[in-house]
Amino acid sequence: MLSFIAKRTLLALSQMLVISAVAFFLLYLSSSGIARTILGEQATEEQVAAKTAELGLDRPLPVRYVEWLLGVFQGDLGRSYFTPQDVSDALISRLPTTLSLLIATTIIAALIAFALGIAAAVYRGWLDRLVQILSIAGYAIPGFLFALLLVIVFAINLGWLPATGYVQLTTDPLGWLKTVILPIAALSIGVIAATAQQVRGAVIDVLRQDYVRTLRSRGLSEREIIFKHVLRNASGTGLTVLGLQFVGLLGGAIVVEQIFALPGLGTVAIQYTSRGDIPVVMGLLIITSLIVAVVNLLVDLGVGFLNPKARVA
Amino acid sequence: MSEQLLSVDKLGVDFTRRRTTFTALEEITFSIAEGETVGLVGESGSGKTTIGRSILGLVPPTRGTLTFRGEDITHASRAKRRELSRDMQVVFQDPYTSLNPSLTIEGILAEPLRAQGIDRREAGRRVKELLDRVRLPSDAAGRLPREFSGGQRQRVAIARALALRPRLIVCDEPVSALDLTTQQRVLDLFIEIQRDTGCAYLFVSHDLSVIRHVSHRVIVLNRGKIVESGGVEKVTSDPDDPYTQRLMMSAPLPDPGAQRERREELEKLRVDSERAA
């Protein structure tokens, strides 16, 4: 198990290295005249040259990448072009909002999706059909449309919940809850739909396995068979789907944060990218891919824990 | 004995998986003459299927040589293999997966013919002949494999193998997925075809009784090595090798009295070998 963890961690690290290198080179190669953009049209050639030198843009790209990478390992993501702020400060201060949104969504969605998927697979009949229809609907309609619908109905028409704004979890838990209910609901629907569908399929599949019949022939209770044996064998699929959904969720969070005006990574992302602030964009890329890498690692470990055969691979 | 059709000389096959090498076959030497059936018998993991697959070019040999009609085919190119397909064919074990479910019987049977450049009309005529040969109705041509039972599908697979009038057919457990009554009928069809066309069979099976029914000579495999070979009467009724003896004694006889005796003999064999060990 330990070598399995080590192998997966190394794989994740190598992937991040490649992503960062490719992103770094592509971004800097395809952007020209950064200093000119920052200084504006009126700046003289000398001013532009001075700015280029100040930003270190006149030095070879590989050198700059290595320097940047070394900085990353020390938690330094460089400085924004347009504001006198450290990229890491700008991003890390926003991280808790986004992360709390993502984690809460994942947990809630996972619980609901597993419950629905198992119930649909075990009871079949009308419940199954209902879950299927909800799944198609939830999967088919883009999450931000749900978010808009929720804003219009619950915030604007009914006025039950605030449409925008954010309260820190640590300062006012109830207030926090009020501000995140709608965003979490909007984000979860798609995840629930996709995951419930896969869990349902996996549970039906496991229920058809020979060993389930054999377990029944031993006189074990149906509850023990479903919640111990079937659930464990079906969870791998559910977990893998959740992992894939999480990547989409990151993108979804950016949009949803914008709709509900939550001060998370998404708002930073949009602000800085429209201005072409490459250091911030690089920081954003590295942080999001780190989050994804950690989630993938957790999923791999989870699947490895559930399925002894996967540990060998 | 007539001229040797296929000679296998010191064939060895290794498989590499996850950086560990596993030897599936070692020092396999035998030959098949025109028109005869050589039976290959062994249990799972004995490498019997691998022998057939490496002769067909589906598994590359690691060591040794394969000679077919005097020509070295050990490392035959894809083009050479396509040429060889006229002389060498196959019938697989599973009649459910060896036929493409979305092609009609005619499409399946015409495939080898068309690959050899035979035109559509001639191919159609030959398909009718083939169906007749394996005793399937000629209107089976337009149907899909799923409309047929296991035994009938295996007849289709035999017809496909016969399409190019090969000299050698590798039969990989061709009756082990079939019911008892069907099994015997398909075996008899194999024998009848051999008498009519003079083709040779390499007949692979785990079942000594099946091997006894169709083979002239028998090779017994255990863990990738030949443990015994010889004429069918000798190997299947009075084997010399202890493993072959155990294989023979382990198969229960459909006669309670005879089986009781066989069981006692097997028990003696077991006690002897335990004492030896």
Binding site: I141, V247 | E43, S98, L180, L187
Partner: protein
């Protein structure tokens, strides 16, 4: 039966699904409207008149009203459709151009290209799409075409994975090997055998990916980072959102357009999948021998063409094909074969002529009937089966596939597959009726009263739990042993069934032990709670002969030690001769003959039994004998 010669195509099944058909029509209408925008719009989508801002729907000249800049919403919706759909299409085409060839190559040839491409697909899929698109936007500026081009690359693993998996599955099929041996070129194999299988999944995936591309594209534009100089659905959303308090209705139209399109695409994808799966259901029968569920399904679907009938008649038109005809209307046509119930032959020594249950037997079955489905589709797979098993006796239940022997066994266990039920007759166990028992009370009986040994050793152990826990848990639950006692007893059992290192096997996962060992573990599990009746369903069929002999020896010993009654389901007369005291021969759901083992082999009475025994090769003539007989026949 008036069935067409051509089998029903996937397209037919797709169009027969009302939901999918509706979605296809909706999509078609949306596409047509967008394509015909210049004809249908009636206004310039970019023409802005501030005094006309926020006109309500159905205003003069503006069927859907106007937006914040006074532009006609209907016109913008139609022209926006062009841009949005073409953008999504661009992403799809790029994804297909990269993903499909890569998947084909990786799947068919494997090796280094496979490992490299899998690694790259993983890499691309671990990047959140929107973040990458935002980064691209930062350096390349806003352009729907550039971002959709990049998104196409991000989507390409979607195609790649589907194609690769499908190709790997097909590549392993025997018919591809057969095509190679038939002398087909790789290009012909890919064209004939591989593309046909991959086609369906590609189309399904395309509809899903198109929806995703559209959603991402509108999401991006909605964020306001897109190119807002062109009318597109996403840009319309963005504008609507800015005036969400003033005129929420302006949000409705683009939302509706995006939502409907995405939903239609997903429903079409699902419909296609269902249509393809139905085809798969009626064709794949590969593991019919392994799984009873499928065996019964196979009976329902397969024509069960009579092999005997084939060989009897030499002429070319014959009953075999008539039955094949019926296979196309499997659901409506009940198996003609099953309507014919063979006449049973009772031997003199069989006490079964008494219609009353035998009180001295552990198990006494009378007139058992097992059926599947209900109404016009029902099918009876076991007819009128009666049998008795006494303590210490082994009854062999023999027959070919589809004879109903396994169904009879499952009916006794109360573990018939979904859809199956006992429709008539009685099953008495220790004098107690089982057919009327509740599910819960049947459970009380299993393990301790009636136990079961399956056919396939590997698939009958839960792969996620150690062998030990699978053995000890039932003893804890059913015998009330504590954990330590259960472990001790499990180790004793493992030792008893001949496993050399019980402790090691106890701590192993099923995939770490061999098939023969797994079967011993399953036998240990079956006898662990000291059942009165053991039902063994082809317990040695999946094993090598040498292992079979050992397992039979073990079963015989355990059976006499524990004085169990045993029902042994098998197709092998050698196994019957070896271990059974009495035999019941089944054919087409009925017991045709029942007798003690010596008499049955010495004097088979029913013609079917005679045919079966005549087909056994064991102890029969060798090829040399056959050739000699043939030569003599030719001389005469």
């Amino acid at each position: 039966m008036s069935t067409s010669d051509k089998p029903e195509t996937t397209l037919h099944r797709f169009l027969a699904n009302p939901l999918a058909l509706g979605a296809a029509i909706v999509l078609l209408v949306i596409v047509l409207c967008s394509a015909l925008a210049p004809v249908l719009a009636g206004a310039d989508p970019a023409f802005s008149a501030i005094r006309d801002a926020f006109l309500a729907p159905f205003s003069a000249g503006h069927p859907l009203g106007t937006d914040s800049a006074g532009r006609d919403i209907w016109a913008r919706l139609l022209y926006g459709g062009q841009i949005s759909l073409l953008g999504a299409l661009l992403a799809l085409v790029v994804a297909a151009l990269i993903g499909i060839p890569a998947g084909l190559l990786a799947g068919y040839y494997g090796r280094w290209f496979d490992s490299v491409s899998v690694w790259m697909a993983n890499l691309v899929q671990s990047m959140p799409g929107i973040v990458v698109l935002l980064a691209a936007r930062a350096v390349l500026g806003p352009s729907i075409w550039i971002s959709m081009l990049i998104f196409g690359v991000i989507l390409s693993p979607g195609f790649y994975r589907v194609v690769r998996t499908a190709v790997i599955n097909v590549r392993g099929e025997l018919y591809v090997d057969a095509a190679k041996v038939s002398g087909l070129r790789d290009s012909a194999i890919i064209g004939r055998h591989i593309l046909t299988v991959v086609r369906g999944p590609i189309i399904i995936q395309a509809s899903l990916l198109l929806g995703i591309a559209l959603a991402i594209q509108s999401g991006l534009e909605f964020l306001g980072v897109g190119d807002n100089s062109v009318p597109s659905w996403g840009n319309m959303l963005n504008e609507g959102f800015r005036s969400i308090y003033r005129a929420p209705i302006t949000l409705l139209w683009p939302s509706l357009a995006i939502g409907l399109t995405c939903a239609a695409l997903v429903i079409i994808g699902n419909g296609l999948r269902d249509a393809l799966e139905e085809r798969g259901l009626s064709s794949a029968r590969r593991d019919r021998r392994k799984n009873v569920g499928t065996a019964t399904a196979a009976m329902a679907a397969l024509p069960a063409v009579d092999e005997a009938a084939l060989d009897e008649a030499a002429p070319l038109t014959r009953p075999g094909v008539n039955t094949a005809d019926e296979s196309e209307t499997i659901v409506t046509a009940p198996l003609a074969d099953l309507e014919f119930v063979p006449e049973p032959v009772w031997s003199d020594s069989t006490p079964l002529e008494t219609p009353e249950p035998d009180p001295s037997a552990v198990l006494s079955v009378r007139r058992l009937r097992v059926g599947y489905g209900s109404g016009p589709h029902d099918k009876t797979v076991v007819h009128n089966v009666s049998l008795d098993v006494h303590a210490g006796e082994v009854l062999g239940l023999v027959g070919e596939s589809g004879s109903g022997k396994t169904q009879t066994a499952f009916a006794v266990l109360g573990l018939l597959p979904t859809g199956g039920r006992v429709t008539n007759g009685s099953v008495l166990f220790d004098g107690e009726e089982l057919t009327t028992r509740s599910r819960a009370s049947m459970r009380e009986l299993r393990g301790t009263g009636i136990a079961y040994i399956p056919q396939e050793p590997m698939s009958n152990l839960d792969p996620s739990f150690k062998v030990g826990s699978q053995l000890s848990t039932p003893m804890m639950r059913r015998l009330g042993l504590d954990k330590r006692a259960a472990r001790t007893r499990a180790l004793e059992l493992l030792d008893r069934v001949g496993i050399r290192e019980p402790e090691r096997t106890y701590d192993s996962y099923p995939h770490e032990i061999s098939g023969g060992m797994a079967q011993r573990v399953l036998i240990a599990g079956a006898v662990s709670c000291r059942p009165r009746l053991l039902i063994a369903d082809e317990p040695t069929t999946a094993l090598d002969v040498t292992v079979q002999a050992e397992v039979l020896r073990l079963l015989r010993e355990l059976q006499s030690e524990q004085e169990m009654a045993v029902i042994l389901v098998t197709h092998n007369f050698g196994v019957v001769a070896d271990i059974c005291d009495r035999v019941a021969v089944m054919n087409k759901g009925t017991i045709v003959e029942q007798n003690d083992v010596e008499s049955l082999f010495a004097r088979p009475r029913h013609p079917y039994t005679q045919t079966l025994l005549g087909s056994t090769l064991e102890g029969g003539p060798s090829r040399i004998d056959l050739d000699r007989a043939e030569a003599e026949g030719a001389h005469r």
